[in-house]
């Protein structure tokens, strides 16, 4: 009887921990969403330093255990894209290139975020005077973009694979 009570307690504790874990992931996602909105406001105010600080935190924030890998990569790739665009705006193309490469190094998926990173990479290379390499990045971005447009026209929801 005692052992049954112990097992019941353990099961209830497990279920509670499971709920807490899900809530943690939900809070993490909310936090990242809010951080992006704050970065938008800082950029709108022309405060590049504040926006950079916020976005760097998003890019480096450890992913919670309950988050799907695909969703975690999406968050990081988007943060890298935003930082690359911010550095281009700040006329720091070399750092912009670093952020674009960091984002592209995360995975090989041909989704919207990868295409964005290729566009940012192309812009950074162009600003650095490396037009041939920039053209290659733009071309890859357009290849993904074409598939995205096709999927959108066919009404296919969800992620687009390369």
């Amino acid at each position: 009887m005692k052992s049954l009570a112990c097992i019941s307690t353990l099961l209830v504790a497990t279920l509670l921990a499971s709920c807490a874990r899900r809530a943690d992931t939900g809070r993490w996602v909310d936090g990242i969403g809010e951080a992006n909105i704050k970065a938008d406001r800082a950029l709108a105010d022309g405060n590049l330093v504040a926006a950079r600080t916020i976005l760097e935190e998003v890019a480096d924030k450890p992913l919670p255990a309950g988050l799907a890998v695909e969703d975690g990569l999406l968050v990081r790739k988007d943060a890298c894209f935003r930082l690359a665009m911010l550095e281009l705006q700040a006329e720091r193309p070399k750092i912009a290139l670093e952020w674009a490469d960091r984002g592209l190094g995360l995975d090989k998926r041909g989704d919207l975020f990868t295409a964005n990173l290729l566009v940012a990479r192309g812009s950074a290379l162009e600003a650095l005077g490396k037009d041939d390499l920039a053209a290659r990045s733009y071309k890859r971005a357009l290849g993904i973009n074409e598939k995205l447009l096709e999927a959108e026209l066919n009404g296919k929801g969800g992620r687009v694979k390369s």
Binding site: T14, S18, G26, G33, A115, N116, L118, Y138, N145, E152
Partner: protein, 151 residues
């Protein structure tokens, strides 16, 4: 009439009962319940015992009708708690190692994709459009993610 006085009917019944106790089967006017008691008293003596054959048969029948006593297996009493504990550990492990599937994200709209294509084609003016469209799409994405992970 006084209760202590014996009636003629009671007297006749008492005499009939006495005869019945002596084994007179033809006794009349005996109340049926008294007759049953008389019968029981008559067979309750030593002569009323069961014969060896009859006793063995009754014993055999009795033993056959009794449920055999199950022997206690020492490890069996630990089976239920052990099984429950194993289930709890399995649920615990699954909860903390299994990940939720990716969120079903909305597809980027046509304007966003076109703005991206325009920037990739070298149109600098489209950068602002791409930024605005991405800002809207990002909010949709975080809304979907939040709904997915809050459950």
């Amino acid at each position: 009439m006084n209760d202590s006085e014996v009636t003629e009917k009671e007297k006749r019944e008492a005499e009939a009962l006495a005869r019945a106790l002596d084994g007179d089967g033809s006794a009349e006017n005996v109340p049926s319940d008294a007759l049953e008691v008389a019968g029981l008293l008559r067979v309750s003596g030593e002569d009323a015992g069961l014969s060896d054959v009859r006793r063995d048969a009754v014993l055999k029948k009795l033993l056959a009708s009794v449920e055999p006593v199950k022997r206690q297996v020492p490890w069996l009493r630990w089976l239920v708690p052990a099984g429950g504990l194993a289930a709890a550990v399995a649920i615990f492990a699954l909860t903390f190692t299994a990940r939720v599937g990716p969120a079903p994200l909305p597809l980027p709209d046509k304007e966003l994709i076109e703005a991206q294509a325009s920037v990739a084609a070298g149109n600098r003016e489209a950068v602002a459009v791409l930024r605005d469209r991405m800002q809207q799409y990002r909010r949709e994405i975080y809304k979907t993610l939040a709904e997915h992970y809050r459950g």
